[in-house]
């Protein structure tokens, strides 16, 4: 039956306790406890022996192994010396435990978990390969770089066609907000109006993100192109500054 049994606070049981139903131990049990229901060991409860049940909630002292088919929960104040095993194991702050702790599910679950693991290992290797492509967010940055090329390229077309460049410029700024800001900043420094806001974004962004990753990546990947680009800013800006700034301002 699902009836709940109680070992009172003033009761000492010397022997095995087993059977169906739940058990609440407020006193002492000197022996093994094995029930089909839940087992609660109260704050004053003490058990010297193995305890097995569905869900074990321990607030007292247990010297022996704890085996819960559903869960083993150690409440604050619990003192357990023995191995703990169950699909769910909880040890609350203030609970003391000494022994081996293992979280394992039902036999079926454990078998299922073990079966996928070996298969998962080969999968993990490809997964690692996959991460490599993922890591190439660097490539994404490279893509961003081409965007910069386009951005630089546009100025040339801008000379040819003033309407065409603005559109790509907008797209570039949206796709690569950070680099766009950097570029924008570079040209912007000259104008005093934009100067105050610049120092703030520059300090956090360039110092943290922009200089370390972009520089290292850009220099090895495209040492020639980036260098001309950066130096050009001082040179080109004179020509492009006015055009870009005017264009951007007008677009904005």
């Amino acid at each position: 039956m699902a009836e709940t049994s109680v070992i009172g606070a003033g009761t000492v049981v010397s022997g095995h306790v087993r059977g169906q139903g739940s058990l609440e131990i407020l006193g002492r049990v000197e022996g093994d406890v094995s029930v089909t229901g839940n087992v609660v060991v109260g704050p004053a409860g003490r058990v010297r022996g193995h305890v097995s049940g569905a869900e074990l909630r321990i607030s007292g002292q247990v010297q022996g192994d704890l085996r819960g088919t559903l869960a083993v929960l150690l409440e604050p104040g619990a003192r357990v010396a023995g191995d703990i095993s169950g699909p769910r194991v909880g040890i609350a702050p203030g609970a003391l435990a000494r022994g081996h702790v293992q979280t394992d599910g039902e036999p079926a679950l454990a078998a299922a978990a073990r079966a996928p693991l070996p298969a998962a290992r080969p999968v993990t290797a490809p997964a690692r390969v996959a991460p490599a492509p993922v890591a190439p967010p660097a490539p994404a940055k490279v893509v961003a770089a081409p965007a910069k090329f386009e951005a630089k390229a546009p100025p040339a077309p801008a000379k040819f066609e003033a309407k065409a460049p603005p559109v790509p410029a907008k797209i570039e700024t949206r796709a690569l907000p950070v680099p766009a800001k950097l570029e924008a900043k570079a040209p912007l420094p000259p104008p005093p109006k934009l100067a105050p806001p610049k120092p703030e974004p520059r300090r956090p962004e360039p110092a943290r993100v922009a200089p370390p990753t972009p520089q290292a990546e850009f220099t090895p990947v495209r040492p020639i192109k980036p260098e001309p680009r950066r130096p050009p800013p001082p040179v080109v800006p004179v020509i492009s500054k006015g055009t870009k700034a005017k264009k951007k301002k007008s677009h904005d």
């Binding site: 010397s14 022997g15 022996g31």
Partner: protein
């Protein structure tokens, strides 16, 4: 407060000792000692020597009984063993086999 309750379906093999009331719905094999009342309900099967203040038996008990106050065997109860108690009653329909010592 019921003190200790041995639920139906639960089996204890060993000794139980304490100073509070004990109610047994399940099975007990061993020895039972308390300073308070002991109740053996209709579903209980006890094979143990029992020591307590009051003993009420509605189930099956096999073992010697020592009670400081009284022993009552309810209708349908079955007790096999010697009894030592100041007061002792056997209800109609109860079974009993053993010696009785009422400390005359």
């Amino acid at each position: 407060m019921a003190g200790t309750v041995i639920g139906e379906g639960l089996t204890i093999e060993g000794d139980i000792s304490g100073d509070e009331e004990i109610v047994i719905h399940g099975n007990l094999r061993g020895r039972l000692t308390t300073t308070d009342a002991v109740t053996v309900t209709g579903t209980a099967v006890v094979g143990a020597d029992i020591t307590g203040a009051n003993l009420s038996v509605a189930g099956q008990v096999t073992g010697d009984v020592t009670a400081s106050e009284r022993v009552d065997i309810q209708a349908g109860g079955k007790l096999v063993g010697d009894i030592k108690a100041a007061r002792f009653t056997i209800a109609d329909g109860a079974s009993f086999k053993g010696n009785v010592d009422m400390e005359v």
